[in-house]
Every structure is written in C-alpha cells, then in structure tokens.
Symmetry: C3
Subunit: 305 residues, 3 copies
C-alpha cells in the first residue's frame, strides 16, 4: 500500500511520497512497514513511541511528523485501509468445499474447507464464505458478503400446525432467503428461509456470532445485531437499528428505523417500538429513562424498609 | 399429487376428478399446478384472485368453486399435503458425508454434505440429516427424524469435579442420547448425551435452531422448543410443553405436562412448574397473571412519584 | 486398569491385588469389569446391589467389602479414573479432516471428521478436536485441550466503524486467539480472535456449548462458563469465576476472581463485579441478597393491594 494509495483512499492529496506499507498493526507489534492509528494526544504519544511507519491521527492533534498523517476520523481511515488490503487476498475455493453443480458462485468469492453450497443457491462476487458453512437451496447472496465459519443460511423455519391428536406437522418451508450486498454474518449464526415468502437481510447489515433470525423476517439496511440475539419469525427491523447482545424479539415485532435495543432486552410478540436514536431496555423493553426509573423504584423500596 | 391423493390424505371422498398438482405455494407465486390455502373470507378472496389450481378453504366459507376444496382445518391440510409431497424427495447420502462403518443408517435416510455420523451411532429410516451435522457415538435416532445443518447430537455433557487444588476434572460422560421418532431438530442446536444414563427426546418433539439441551434431560412427547432455549442438565420436561425463545432452565428443573413458558423466562435450579395449559413468564417464572401484576405494580410506583 | 493403577492414581497404597477393570459405569449397566462410585450410605447400598467390580466410596461409610475402595472424594476419584482411561484412546486424525500444511498439530492429538485447521494455526499435544470444528489462522492452542464438534475458534470479532454515510466498515480483526493448556470447549461455541491484540482463555477453564466469547477478552484460569453465556468484547474474567447458563456481559466488563454469576444474569458495559465466592443475580446483576430482596419487595407490593 503506497502512500499514494492511502491518500487516495482517504480523499487526501498525496505529495511526492514513495513510502510503502504492507500491513496494519497495533503499537506493540508495529514495524516500519505497518500503519497504526491514534485517536487523541495520549494514544498518539504511544504510537510515536513505536516504530510504526505511518500513524493515522486526528487533524489538529500533535505536532507535524513525517510519520503522522492527519485525517478526519483515524479509526475509520484505519478500517478503510484494512478493507483496501483485504482486496488483495486471493480468492480460493477450498478443494474440500462442496458446491452443488447447479449452485452459482461469483467471481472473486472464496469458500472455506467443508463449506457447503446446496442445489440452486446463488452467491455473488467477492464474497468470503467460511469453513463448515452451510448454504441451503433457495438462498441468494449478494456481493461482498462475509459469512463466517459454521453459519447456516436458508434452513427451514420453525412453523408447525397441530392436529387434533396433539401431534405437530411442519408448515411448508418453501420460501427464500435473500442476503443483500455487503452484509457480514458471524460464526454459527442461523438465518431461516421464508415459509412461503422470503426472509431478507438488507444491504450493509452486520450480524455477530450465534444470532438467530427466523423465517419471513425483513431486516433493514445498515442494521447492527450483536451476538446471541434471537429474532422470531415475521419481524420487521428498520434501517440503522442497533441491537446489543442477547436481545430477543417475539414473532411479528416491528422495530422502527434507528431504534437502539440494550443488551438482553426483550420485545413481546406483535409489539412495535419506534423512535430513531431512542434506546430501549429491559423485558418488556421500555425507553431507557423509564427503565432506569423502574430500577431505581425497586431499589428505593428496599432502602425504605 | 392427484385430486384423489389430496382427498384421501384429508379423509374426504374424491369424485371423478383428474386434476394433478405438483407443488404448494403462496398466492404470489402460485400457478395452476399449485395448491394454496385460505383461512377466512379475506384470504379466500386473495386466493381466488391468484391463478392457484386448488384452494384449501374452511368449510362454510365462500361460495362453491371448482378450485376450492372445503376442509376442516385448511392450514393443517396444507401442511399434510406438504408432508405428502416431501415423501417423494429422493433419499441421498452425499458422497462427502462421513459415516463410520460401524454406524447404522436406515433405509430412505438422507445425509447432507460433510454430515458426520460417528462410530456405532444408529440412525433410523426416512430421516433427513443436514450438512455439517455431527452425530456422536452413543446416539440412537428413530425414524422420520429431521436434523438441520450444523446440529451436534450426543456430545459430552458439561460436568466437572473440582479437586483440592482448584482445578476441574471432567466427570465421565459415557451415557447415551436417544432421539425418538418424528423429532425435528433445528440448525446448530446441541443435545448432549447422558453422563452415565441417557438423555432422551420424546416422540414428535420439535426443536428450533440454537437450542441447547444438557446431559441426562428427559424431554417428553410433542414438546415445542423455540430458538435459543437453554435446558441445563437433568431436567424433566413433560409431554406437550411449549417453550418460547430464549427460555432458560436451571439444572434438575421439572416442567409438568402442557405447561407454556413465555419468551426469555427462566426457572431456577431444582424448581418445578405444573399446570397443563398454564402460561408462566419472567425470571424466576411465575404464572402469567402474577407476572403482569408485578409489571403493573412497578409501573404504577413510577407514576405516583 | 489394574487395582494398582487405581490406587496409584488416588495416592493410596495398593496391596497384592490382581483385579483389573476396563470401564466406568452407572449402577444399572455395571458389570464385574466396571468401576462405580457412591457418595453416601444410600448410594453405596445401591452400588452393592449391582454387580460392579469396584465401588469408590467415602472413607468411613459402609462396612468393609472387597468390592469397596474407601477414598476421600469418590466422585473426584471416579473422574480421575475416567481421565486415566481416556489416556488409552488412540489419537486419530480423520482422513476427511482438513489441516493446512502450514498448521501445526502436536503428538497424540485427534482431529474429527471434517475438522478444519487453517493456515498457520497451532494445536498442542494430546488434544481432542471434534468433527466439523473450525480453527482459524492466528489461533494457538495448548496441550490436552478438548474442543467439541462445531466450535469455531479464532473467527473475526464484531467491530465496525461507522462512516458519515451511515455505512459500517469492519475494524481490522488481525489479532490472535490463545487457548492455554487443559481448556475444554463445548459444541458450537465461538471464540473470536483479538482485533489488534489477543483473546486469551486461561489454563484449565471449562466452557460449555454455544458460549460466545468476543474479541480481546481475557478469561482467567479454572473458570467455569455454562451454556449460552455471551461475553462481549474486551472483558476481563478473573481466575475461578463461575458463570451459570445464559449470563451476558457487556463489553469492557471486569469480573473479579472467584465471583459466581447466577443463571441469565447480566452485567452492563464497563461495570466491575468483585468478591471471591460472592454470588450475583439479575439484570443488572446485584449481590444475591439484594436480588432476593428486590424480588420479595415486588411480590409484597402485589399482596398489599
């Protein structure tokens, strides 16, 4: 990564600068070939004490140094450099991967060892499909999608009809799963296909490990879903929603755009939460202010007795 | 699926009717070859507006039409048709599946890519074992069992004995796992074998994705366990119990037959809940009425101040 | 296992005793070749009623019998015998396992079917790596480590930087994962590598199924983590901590040595809990005594109205 590439990527004007960097690093293991970043005076001092070749630092912080490149948002700039470097990792389909001959895998896509892509599934370009991933038929995946090891995409949803004898018969699970571009999916996460219609994960959404998303959900764009969140069937989650770890949504829940759900909060079936930028907490989830009041009330009660 | 087959399956008398259907569908993608269902006047109107070949509709709803077949429970009938059609999917053991030569796999059973069936495990007839599933030794699986991708059956339970030096030694996990007929198990679910005795999942029980069932549990028949439920070791769950998502049971818990546990509710170790058809909620779980009272009390407190 | 071996293992003096045992068992399926254990008079009576060849029983309980060996802690002794017998299981690397040629796997280590060990990963001696496990590059595993089926070790952590356009760019996940000696990891558990630094699991720690441990966590020694616990990024968990099932820690939480967290309890981001042997419960977690008071207060309120 030449200095010119770094500057181009960050929208800066590059001077005559022939330096080349080959990797990102933390301060502890940085060498002259590495790029690091600093967010304030204190971290910049640490960065300068290392032998890192290039330090991305906030505009206006620290003195001029050949090693420091002033940028608006150093952490974001560092992440962009990472993405740029990732672009040079060669795409490999491991020989042990099992890709059905009727499945389609786009140019530049990697598939890890024992990754399985079943009949008729479609995977776009420049994706990274991890080892031991299973992609069922009826799944369509866009471009630049990352799926980490062990995830299961497009499995049958959990829907049954009870007969008069008390036994259950599976409701047909014959729909589709659509994963849009730039989605990232963590290890051992499971996303079910629609029963009759589709399950859809919107562009740019990021999903952590061990998340479960049920059949017929519609997840918006640029949604962030932390580990072990469980989303029951037929939920609608708006653009830009953030869910902390272990959140649970009952079925047919609607979460409006931009809502933030705190860790382990829960929403009862059929409910709707709205308010861009508003944070909800607890089971059942209530606005943060109300939640904190509830906590305080219970604790005050104790102190009175 | 001839009209005669549909009627036979549903216990109806078939007339002289030569129509043939090949698949189930939602209204949006139904063709003349497809069967759909309606549950009331409104959905029947939609179904009739589609070009679906056959509409399963409730007795007494809508006018007579050649395309409408009146049945007692259309959704159940639709599910039965789905099961009937599934019976024609050819059983395939994928060449990449790894089945130990001492394991036994019954007639008509499919095993997905990279599915692993270890030494001495027994799988019955007409089962569907997904890709990347692991079935440990000491596991016995009945007939018509469905195991979705990534599930792990018969692993070692979580039991340790602490020594005087503070370190833990695993308690022997040398028991068995028995999965009875007609059980269905979701993706990435884990069910441990017994430590000394057995873990058992009763006939007809349906288990969603990412459920954990610990060693030596006895789960009854026709139990429904939604996603991300965690059942600690040595629990007993009665027939017909329903557990919503993310429920947690401590070890040695007993849930009586027919009890319903609401989402994310929790039961402390050693406790017992009883009451067919009674719903429990919260942590620790209390009868729904009590739970709602508790919620209301805390909220009333806030409004008084 | 000769009587001499049993006694040697337990620090007892072996007399002239030529008996040999080949396995452990519960009472129900014990034969003369099996070792069982009893913890009190009642279980000793049951053990004596079986045909078990050797009964490990507490010193001072029951009468002398050739079949009874008096030991300080019979359950611990039984577990030690189990570990001793496990030592004779032959190490096998299944031919379907995928071990990158640049990865290193120590002497006596088994790898199950379709287990994947990626580029440059290091696995120590006498480990047991289950089927369908994925071990990413940048992972180093010590000796005598057990990893059950479907676990994913060393995946990318969940860290993103939001740009001005609202889209997320992954923060570089280029650190390491270190698993120390004698750690045991359950099925479908996921442990992420560090973003820049390392994630570390301390010696002797035992982790159940479906646990999630985020990037840059430091987990101490002899920690016990039950199923479905979720530990967010950058947490520090002290030696000897015990976490019951479904516990959740927000990011940057510190749990002091010896703390016990009850089932489904939660700790908010950035918080610290201290107190060896002290138990915490609830969301947010409070000392057990306080938690029980809170519960009682809410319930008393109801009864007053």
């Amino acid at each position: 990564m030449r200095m010119k590439d770094v500057c181009g990527l960050l929208g800066l004007v590059a001077g005559e600068d022939e330096r080349v960097f080959t990797r990102l690093a933390g301060y502890a293991d940085a060498g002259p070939e590495a790029i690091v970043f600093a967010v304030d005076e204190a971290s910049l001092a640490k960065a300068l004490a290392s032998v890192a070749g290039l330090i991305l630092a906030p505009v206006g912080v620290g003195d001029a140094s050949e090693r420091v490149l002033a940028v608006k948002n150093p952490k974001h700039a560092f992440a962009l450099c990472g993405r740029w470097l990732d672009g040079f990792v060669a795409a490999v389909i491991h020989p042990s991967a099992v890709i059905d001959e009727s499945a389609s895998v786009g140019r530049g896509t990697s598939v890890g060892a024992c990754g399985v892509i079943e009949k008729g599934a479609v995977v776009g370009e420049n994706c990274s499909i991890g080892s031991n991933v299973t992609i069922y038929s009826c799944t369509t995946i866009g471009d630049r999608v990352v799926v980490q090891a062990g995830a299961v995409l497009g499995g049958m949803g959990f829907g049954y009809v009870r007969g008069e004898d008390g036994s259950y018969v599976r409701f047909p699970q014959i729909g589709r799963l659509v994963i849009e571009d730039d989605v990232e999916i963590g290890a051992n996460t499971t996303i079910d296909r629609g029963a009759l219609g589709e399950t859809r994960i919107g562009r740019g959404t990021k999903i952590d490990n061990q998340v479960h998303i049920g059949h017929n959900c519609t997840i918006g764009r640029d949604v962030v879903i932390a580990a072990q969140v469980g989303i029951s069937g037929s939920c609608v989650v708006g653009d830009g929603v953030v869910m902390a770890g272990q959140v649970g949504l009952g079925d047919h829940v609607t979460i409006g755009p931009g809502v933030i759900l705190g860790g382990a909060s829960g929403v009862f079936p059929g409910k709707r939460l709205e308010g861009p930028g508003q944070m909800f907490m607890g089971v059942p989830a209530e606005p943060l202010k109300e939640y904190l009041k509830s906590l305080a009330r219970v604790r005050r009660l104790k102190s009175r007795e």
